[in-house]
Symmetry: C2
Subunit: 650 residues, 2 copies
């Protein structure tokens, strides 16, 4: 068996999956879906389910069974190019329905351009976005609004200035939102205004962000209103293009953070910025370059003009956002880890050198404290503010964040997990790309590895690593201290598995894929050192979790929900994650993989301007726990480096 | 007799006098006066009266006799370096007083550094500025405020970001003016903040302009808070340095508007901007260069660091301000003469390339309509808003503005007078500099010319021109059509005067200064063509005046006050101006020369932030009359090209 992430689509969160720097989620094989019922045309990756395609477009389809193809309620109708029905569809739909183009949204995959009708009773009205895993919905009320106005033509009886006549026309066009007095004209806009007005015979579209006028465009361009949400990760930068008219995500792309060249974790980047000549400048310019590149790419993929992008939101950890803004990070490198600012920063794209989207206003979302940044704020607004009263959210990344919610109180902490889950510092580690072992299961007398892209194995990615270690723990090949035992210590092991335990240079290694099945012709192995790296990573995250639960007085049983976030979190094998002790032993049904929650939060801030305010409130009210100096954490880290004896999850 | 403008000082308005581009008002020979009573040290030009030095410093001294040295009430005491007493002082003060350092403020001139005590009963409290000629006073409430704060030092118990701790300290320091939420941090400020805070051991001065934070400075710099007021004239650019702590004008400098190289009036500059490649850019860069140069010069003269200049206001006519902002002026060149904007424009110095004062916020004052610009708005807020109910204000310049106030209504118009009053297009015309004939009187059987700087005559300036023509009208040498008569037509003329009427190339000329008395050895003459130029200039201004009086239904008798504004207006010979018909025949005591009223208005906007709002109200409420298309104006222009038969002024 194999899975192809590019085709499975999975859910919204898969957009944020990494390792596809050269090929965005919409990829080379994008198809165009026309949702007739919603007058909405979107480009989506070939092979995506109708359910996911709709979700990306801001259309929520009710799925009583949770989208697993058993209730048969999510019936939609293809009016062109219906795909071959699946077995489940044949079972749940009548022949007549199938002949008429009816399919199940959760099962039916789109491989070519198609038109689809979604029955009204199935979908919320357009203008709502549903974030995956929880029920947060926001109405589409973007900060940026466009209005088409017919400006009175100057005459000897009307000698008002161009700006004044425009502002008056805007005011008369029915919006009481902006008082003309409050608008301060922008110099560049004034410089081009006379030409734009006259070229357009005084019929123009005005782009407003609150009280700021961002642009004046010829003719009626009200339908073209887009925003970009950026999630600036330590390792991966993800960019979403959002249609501000309906909240739909039109395309998504990602790239490796080019700062990786200067160090793969925060500490090494802070050192580089602080100690090298021009270090800060180099890191700043690297990320600005990536942002410009992603902006152009994501727009090109959806055939959107970058000049129609008026708003961009940025989330990321505190250090990443400092580097984005070109702020000194020296103080982040030593106690008491003081940021230059934790507040929401608003600025124009030109101020930051983001030349790809010259008309945009930017919001760098507020941070909480220490390294707990806007990504965590975004995760909180997208998943924790509503929903469960007592909850835990873990954003797994090179720098991992943990938040515990207990009623009105929230505690947050940041743990330096290191890049093990992203495949770094692991002997055959790699990112979740084609050729990566992403799943490992005991299958009868042997192990079975699933490789992304159905290709010969090249290495192992984070999910594979968790699965593999969980399997080896179950088999007793790894003991609770993390030691890999010698073959002779487990005489009852099936021989095919026992044969995988080898020794090299006096060290025990476990062969996941034999050399004759791997791409390079050499065996893909797990070493004792790899296990130690995983122990460090999961130990730091779990210790952070335990420290916060302890401080908040929350027991495992009290947790109503555990959200696993991060691009990596989407694919995490939950049971294995509990088995190795990365996640507390909670019943599986309370654990939700919510994908790139930070990216979702950044999108919410684009779609509804109130979310920006909410982000500020969150940043101010969440209590940051500094783990580096916390004795509880040190103790918990020591304890959780070990593996649990028995998985106690249900 | 001769006058030396550099020494006479005259009144506040003399600061704005032109023609001294190479030597500012404070000149090379500045002296420092310490007003002990007001804790105020200022640099002033050597030779200035104590009265003027005080006025420049924002200290008003009551002068019951009007400062002409007859009442003896303006007694001040020198505590160091008292100058030699004048004859009037010897007459009005006792020997004992003179020995104790008492002098009269209006008579005593300061030629070396000195300390002076101004008795409390003589002066208004500091913090008030009195504008010359009318009783407008404003309290010192500048937009820009500085506050010294001690910021809490970060610790493990206080891990707030630098910006957040600064804003909190500011908020706790007792100002309820700014809510921390309203402050959006500026990128450049954030980039330098960590260093500034730590260099200063967290004791800093915050510079606020309303809700904007302009700068954070090391230590306590609250005493250093300065602003610049710019009057951008078509021919001359004047810059005032104002101490925002007390409203005092510390120094003044001016330069020829370098755009003169591209045309000496508005129409030629608009043509250049519209038709030449890069024309707008060249004109824009020329004025920005002049602004930067003046800013540095005016600061150097008063030993003020340009980094302590936080606010700059700009007034000028609509075209000049468009060029300052780099806005398209093409539409100003043809009916219906539409501006790009008439509103108050706020921007940062860096946005406009004004690099000399990097920390400053700029306000380009609002315009009224057509060419009636911010200079007129500034003139109105400084002189017309309060005071007389029915009044006329005329700002004489290359482009002249006229305002008629009748109760709550105000009408304003702009007239293209041309540069005759500034000496251009006049055969021996020159600006009001050393060597210029500035006054011409009939003295017995001959004429007497006064030359600026007591030097041999080089030419004639605007005031001399008005005086000369008035004298020739009285003598009958010029008739009411402007024709210069031949010598034979006036047989009864005294021979010394008659000898001055000569003929050259068939044209009559009048010799003002004979060749043996002039600097160049050639006679300084007035030609028939010069008279025509004057007729055009004064005709257009008077026609504008008549048109507005007509439209407002205001008779000469109803006028309670006539304000003659503009640098040139300060020295205007009022009686001669009435004689030639430039000013309506109003009793002399109702005519006030108020100097550079536009500059005064620009200064008011620095000193009191409410004046900025008032300027916006004025710009919106004053009715602009477009003269170019007004038949009343055309008729009046034809009529007022002629000279009045008999001066009917009292």
């Amino acid at each position: 068996m194999s899975i192809n992430l590019n085709q499975s689509g999975g859910n919204e969160a898969s957009e944020g999956n990494t390792g596809r720097a050269d090929k965005g989620a919409t990829g080379a094989s994008a198809v165009v879906v026309f949702f007739e019922s919603h007058h909405l045309k979107v480009a989506v990756p070939s092979g995506i389910t109708v359910l996911d395609a709709a979700r990306r477009s801001g259309i929520h389809i009710e799925t009583p069974c949770g989208g697993i193809g058993v209730c048969g309620k999510c019936k939609v109708r293809f009016t062109s190019n219906p795909p071959m029905p699946t077995e489940q569809e044949r079972a749940l739909l009548s022949d007549r329905e199938i002949a008429s183009g009816y399919r199940l949204a959760c099962r039916s995959r789109i491989f070519s351009n198609a038109s689809i009708i979604i029955p009204q009773e199935l979908s919320h009205p357009t203008g709502y976005i549903l974030t995956f895993g929880t029920a947060k919905m926001v109405s589409v009320e973007p900060l940026v609004r466009k209005r088409f106005v017919k400006v009175p033509i100057p005459s000897l009886n009307d000698e008002r200035g161009d700006w004044e006549r425009l502002v008056a026309a805007l005011s008369e066009s029915g919006s009481s939102e902006h008082s003309p007095d409050e608008l301060n004209p922008d110099l560049e806009l004034l410089r081009s205004l006379p030409r734009v007005l006259r070229d357009a015979q005084f019929e123009v579209t005005v782009v407003m962000a609150g009280k700021k006028m961002l642009a004046v465009e010829r003719g009626d361009t009200t339908k073209m209103n887009y925003g970009l949400a950026f999630d600036i990760g330590t390792t991966t930068v993800v960019c979403y293009l959002v249609d501000l008219a309906n909240g739909a995500t039109l395309s998504t792309t990602s790239t490796i953070n080019p700062q990786v060249a200067y160090g793969d974790d925060l500490i090494s980047r802070i050192a580089f910025a602080s100690e090298s000549e021009n270090g800060l400048k180099l890191l700043h310019e690297a990320i600005i370059g990536a942002v410009n590149e992603l902006a152009l790419k994501v727009c090109a993929e959806a055939a959107v003009s970058p000049s129609h992008v008026y708003h961009a939101t940025f989330v990321g950890n505190t250090c990443m956002l400092h580097l984005l803004l070109g702020l000194d990070v020296t103080l982040l490198g030593r106690a008491p880890y003081v940021a230059v600012t934790q507040s929401l920063v608003e600025l124009r794209a030109s101020e930051l050198g983001i030349t790809a989207i010259p008309n945009a206003i930017l919001h760098v979302l507020p941070r909480i404290g220490g390294f707990v940044g806007a990504d965590t704020v975004a995760m909180i607004i997208s998943h924790l503010l509503n929903g469960a009263d007592v909850a835990l959210a873990i954003d797994i990344g090179t720098n991992s964040e943990v938040v515990v919610k207990c009623g009105d109180e929230m505690l947050a902490a940041s743990a330096a997990a290191g890049p093990a889950f992203e495949g770094a510092r692991i002997k055959h580690g790699m990112r979740a790309a084609n050729g990566a072992i992403c799943s490992v299961k005991v299958d009868g007398n042997d192990l079975r590895c699933v490789v992304i892209g159905d290709a010969p194995a090249k290495g192992i990615c984070g999910t594979g690593l968790i699965d593999a270690v969980a399997a080896l723990l179950e088999l007793g090949i790894i003991d609770e201290t993390g030691r890999m035992v010698h073959r002779c210590e487990l005489p009852s092991l099936p021989s095919r598995i026992a044969d995988r335990l080898i020794e090299r240079d006096g060290e025990v290694e476990f062969v996941l894929v034999h050399g004759d099945e791997s791409e390079g012709g050499f065996p893909i192995v797990l070493t004792q050192r790899d296990i130690r790296q995983l122990q460090l990573a999961k130990g730091s995250i779990r210790a952070a979790t335990e420290t916060l639960l302890n401080l908040a007085g929350v027991s495992y049983d009290a947790l109503q929900a555990v959200y696993i976030c991060g691009a990596f979190g989407t694919f995490i094998p939950k049971r294995s994650a509990v088995r190795i002790g990365l996640i507390p032993p909670i019943p599986m049904e309370r654990i939700y993989s919510v994908g790139n929650a930070a990216g979702t939060g950044a999108k919410l801030a684009l779609i509804n301007r109130n979310e920006l305010k909410r982000a500020e409130l969150v940043a101010r009210s969440v209590r940051h726990i500094e783990l580096g100096t916390n004795p509880l954490y040190a103790e918990a880290f020591f304890e959780w480096m070990r593996f649990p004896k028995n998985a106690s999850s249900s």
